[in-house]
């Protein structure tokens, strides 16, 4: 059982006694990992011979020197030890097989609702992508709905990738909206309509907030159902963060300008493919960015200036920039985050390009995505008080050949075997032996 001394409220209400697929029982354990090449995840340099202590599912201390060990002591033998990877944007847990509609809960094209759609009950911690990406060292992810019929996609969450029956760390963490090409389609066909629709919907939500009882979400004139109005009211007053997808430089500037009308919006820019061309403005606005690290093609006219140097240039301008996983990779391959971060380091050796130092790159997949989602006090680093998500690696975590050798989530040691591993083992020798393959298990 998870210890009662867990600080209440912050941690997911996980049913920790749940029996796992493997038949083991999840146990929060106090653990002290010593002799580590210790990465805190906040952008600081690795600490040789570091120690991290997790007690009651939380990090108690992490740093150099001798500290009083708690619980099980694990000698890392000089291996890299880091906080779990945080995917800054994903759809993990919403999809088992993309093309099998019944297992794909990214979006609801035929729902009458939009902003009120809360993805939390759709998340499936037992979906196989959760296990596969856990084995990559991803322990937390920001999960956003995709936009269905309306302008707003709904409410995203922070999740964990633990082997248990609940993956919601923080439900209703942010509202998701798309501007640019897709936003204009959802608003009727032009960007002008997108911004008008956005303003009109928020104005209506403000009406709702002033007097919910008087709000008539059912009349023909109303733009918002009551549930959607309630959800947007929390965005207007900044209680809920707004993740805004925008790629074209002009769209980004228009989005930043929304705060002149709605000053309490708490914005996070998503995508921001041309962000580097307006990096100073983004930095001045103090808006964090979550982007795909290696976008470098003009996939659309919104992305003409795309460059792998986007992250490095934004960072150099003072923007808090995190790495997320988008498009076809967002549900199954969020483990790409480490590869992306490694590529950002590679760019520092390329004349004319901008990348990140190793320490910055690791932060871009741990503490910075946590900050961009407003949960930096909870996850993303090994600073005291954060969740006990710790990974021991076989080598440099950003290198292609490295894998986790041990993973803890909330202080619970995780199984790392996947369905893929079982298939591999069954067919390590492809031919049948005494009995068909179906008997090899």
């Amino acid at each position: 059982m998870m210890r009662a001394k867990l600080l209440g409220g912050l941690l997911r209400g996980v049913a920790v006694a749940a029996v796992l697929c493997s038949g083991t029982v999840a146990q929060a354990q106090d653990v002290t990992i010593t002799n580590a090449r210790l990465v805190i995840g906040d952008g600081s340099a690795p600490i040789e011979g570091g120690t991290v202590v997790v007690r009651g599912g939380k990090v108690i201390s992490a740093g150099a020197g001798n500290v009083a060990a708690q619980g099980t002591v694990v000698d890392a033998g000089g291996a890299w030890v880091t906080p779990g990877i945080v995917a800054g944007f994903s759809r993990i847990g919403l999809v088992e097989v993309d093309a099998v509609a019944g297992t794909n809960d990214r979006s609801a094209e035929r729902s009458p609702f939009s902003a009120a759609i809360d993805i939390a009950p759709a998340l499936n911690p037992l979906s196989s992508p959760v296990a596969v990406n856990r084995a990559h060292g991803v322990t937390r992810a920001v999960v956003a709905p995709a936009v269905g019929s309306g302008l707003f996609g709904g409410l995203g969450a922070l999740v964990d990738l633990g082997a248990d029956r609940s993956m919601v760390t923080r439900p209703r963490l942010f509202q998701y909206v798309e501007f640019g090409e897709s936003g204009s389609q959802n608003a009727g066909g032009s960007r002008a309509a997108t911004f008008l629709t956005f303003r009109a919907l928020l104005a209506e939500a403000r009406d709702y907030a002033r007097n919910p009882a008087a709000y008539d979400g059912r009349s023909k004139d109303s733009l918002l159902l009551r549930a959607d109005a309630e959800a947007l009211a929390r965005v207007i007053d900044g209680r809920e963060r707004l993740f805004v997808r925008a790629d074209r430089a002009a769209d980004i500037l228009s989005v930043l300008n929304l705060r002149s009308e709605f000053p309490r919006l708490t914005l996070t820019l998503v995508g921001a493919t041309e962000g580097w061309t307006v990096a100073r403005e983004i930095a001045a606005a103090g808006v964090p960015v979550v982007t795909s690290a290696l976008t470098d093609l003009p996939g659309s006219f919104d992305q003409l200036a795309s460059s792998q140097s986007n992250v490095g240039r934004l960072r150099a301008a003072g923007v808090d920039v995190a790495v997320g996983v988008f498009d076809d990779d967002d549900a199954h391959k969020i483990g790409y985050t480490t590869q992306y971060a490694g590529n950002l380091v590679a760019l520092t050796r390329l004349p004319g390009a901008a990348g990140l130092s190793w320490d910055q790159a690791f932060a871009a997949i741990s503490s910075v995505p946590a900050r961009a989602a407003g949960v930096e006090d909870l996850v993303g680093s090994l600073r005291p008080g954060r969740v006990g998500d710790v990974v021991i690696w076989s080598g440099d975590p950003l290198e292609l050949s490295s894998v986790p050798t041990a993973v803890w989530i909330d202080g619970i040691k995780q199984p790392l075997s996947t369905r893929q591993d079982r298939l591999r083992d069954r067919y390590a020798v492809p031919q049948e032996s005494a009995l068909p393959k179906a008997y090899q298990h």
Partner: protein
């Protein structure tokens, strides 16, 4: 259109693969946009009766010409020769567009005094990467509908179409594949919505005004075929055959039977109306055109191998081959390659049983393993994809050297494309299609520093003037950026 199809990482080829995924609706849209010409079967396009000898088999010939190549010596460099060989601290000498020597030292090399000499200390030289599965040019960036030219999916079989007739040589993707991926040649394939998508074309990754200017001289044609979910979904959803896997096979077999009859008449010297579809299929049956078969599941690949025997052709390569590891022995016995991703999975049912060890398991069985992209993004880091597969193999105890793994990226795809006598490895006399990497290319921290095609320096990370900029990007934001 869902937001997932609003490609952040953008590539249109991505969307093509997605046509097999959740974004089926988008693909269906794009397909319906070209519907309407379904009644026009190839025979109606024929104009002149002719005998086989009179048919020009190369009516759109390559006009590719190598660019100027200074004699170039790279010394003190680590070399993967592409066929499994390695030399540490060695020399590579390129001259007259070809590899002149790969050797431990310069002894015996007649290097002229004005040769370009590069210190390769701490760097790696490999053959250029060859991507056997690309849609660059046919699904170019930007991925707008007006550019969606990769799949004439208006009929379940369209062997009469040629991918080269859709190639837009200004696709910015070519430059990224060169500069970030060290890709020197690629096969552009039609899409996989239909059973027979049409002929492929192999290109040199060198910008030209015309498709012909990029065309790899003398490379054989391929025919793209597709198994499984895509054809049965695309046509089944229109209420026509095929709507099942058995329907897939039936349409294929009848098409082959008809083609065989056509070829018999040709071979007998009979006068026959030109039929572009059957000309392609006859070319396959004659062994001139290579089969590149999109196929994921092990059981389907086994059926296709038997179908090939039934009609007397050979499958050069299964593409995607997510379950190749289940029948690696069968692939070896049939001499058929598998072109694979390192870790793509789960986007549709036939990609559900992926394992990260697919490539090394095929290698260990002695079959021909290839790492491919099918994607405008991953074509930029096939070395990294191979590296992930290599590491997964090593973790399960499969001992494969770095230099041997490089075969997955150059020599094996060259063999499968029928161009291994000219490129794909650093053997004297072969095309000087070469990459100088600034670190071990299996490291995430490595990037191409220089790329030569036929000995011409066409990318240099140290020289902004040696960075191609397509017409489309000229005068646009970010023009000439390192990208």
């Amino acid at each position: 259109m869902t937001s997932t199809s609003q490609a952040l990482s953008g590539g249109p080829a991505r969307r093509q693969r997605a046509s097999a995924t959740a974004v089926a609706a988008v693909a269906a849209l794009s397909l319906s946009a070209c519907a309407g010409s379904t009644a026009n079967k190839p025979a109606s396009a024929s104009t002149a009766a002719s005998r086989p000898a009179a048919v020009n088999k190369d009516p759109y010939p390559s006009t590719y010409k190598p660019y100027g190549a200074a004699p170039t010596l790279v010394r003190g460099v680590t070399i993967f020769d592409g066929e499994g060989g390695r030399i540490d601290n060695g020399v590579v000498y390129l001259s007259e567009g070809v590899v002149k020597a790969v050797a431990p030292d310069e002894a015996g090399l007649n290097v002229p005094a004005d040769a370009v000499v590069i210190d390769g200390a701490g760097k790696w030289v490999t053959p250029g990467v060859i991507d056997i599965h690309s849609h660059l040019g046919d699904y170019p960036s930007p991925g707008v509908q007006a550019h969606s030219d990769g799949n004439e999916a208006t009929d379940p079989t369209t062997p009469e179409v040629w991918a080269e007739h859709s190639v837009w040589p200004q696709d910015p993707g070519f430059s990224r594949a060169l500069a970030n991926g060290g890709v020197t040649a690629l096969q552009v394939l039609p899409g996989s919505a239909n059973l027979m998508g049409g002929r492929s074309v192999t290109l040199k990754n060198v910008y030209a005004r015309t498709m012909q200017g990029m065309k790899f001289p003398g490379a054989p044609y391929g025919l793209k075929m597709a198994c499984g979910e895509n054809p049965k979904r695309v046509y089944g959803s229109k209420g026509r055959m095929p709507s099942t896997r058995m329907g897939n096979l039936a349409v294929n077999r009848q098409t082959w039977a008809d083609a065989a009859a056509y070829k018999r008449r040709l071979d007998a010297g009979e006068k026959v109306e030109r039929n572009l579809a059957n000309e392609t299929l006859s070319g396959v049956l004659a062994g001139d055109i290579l089969i590149h078969n999109h196929c994921y599941r092990a059981d389907e690949m086994a059926i296709v191998l038997d179908m090939a025997k039934e009609f007397g052709y050979k499958v050069s390569t299964f593409h995607h081959a997510v379950e190749a590891y289940k029948i690696a022995d069968l692939l070896k016995d049939n001499g058929t390659c598998a072109a694979m991703w390192a870790d793509w999975w789960g986007f549709k049912m036939e990609a559900y049983d992926a394992v990260k060890e697919n490539v090394p398991l095929v290698e260990r069985a002695g079959a021909c393993a290839i790492v491919h992209s099918d994607d405008a993004n991953q074509i930029q880091r096939l070395n990294q994809e191979a590296s992930k597969a290599l590491a997964a193999g090593r973790r399960m105890g499969i001992a494969i050297t770095d230099e041997s793994a490089w075969r997955w990226l150059s020599y094996n795809p060259a063999k499968a494309l029928g161009i291994a006598d000219r490129t794909g490895s650093l053997k004297p006399g072969k095309m000087a299609d070469v990459v100088l990497w600034n670190a071990n290319p299996f490291s995430v921290y490595a990037r191409p520093e220089k790329v030569w095609v036929d000995g011409a320096l066409l990318y240099d990370a140290l020289d902004a003037k040696r960075r191609p900029v397509s017409d489309f990007e000229l005068g646009q934001p970010g023009e000439g950026d390192v990208k």
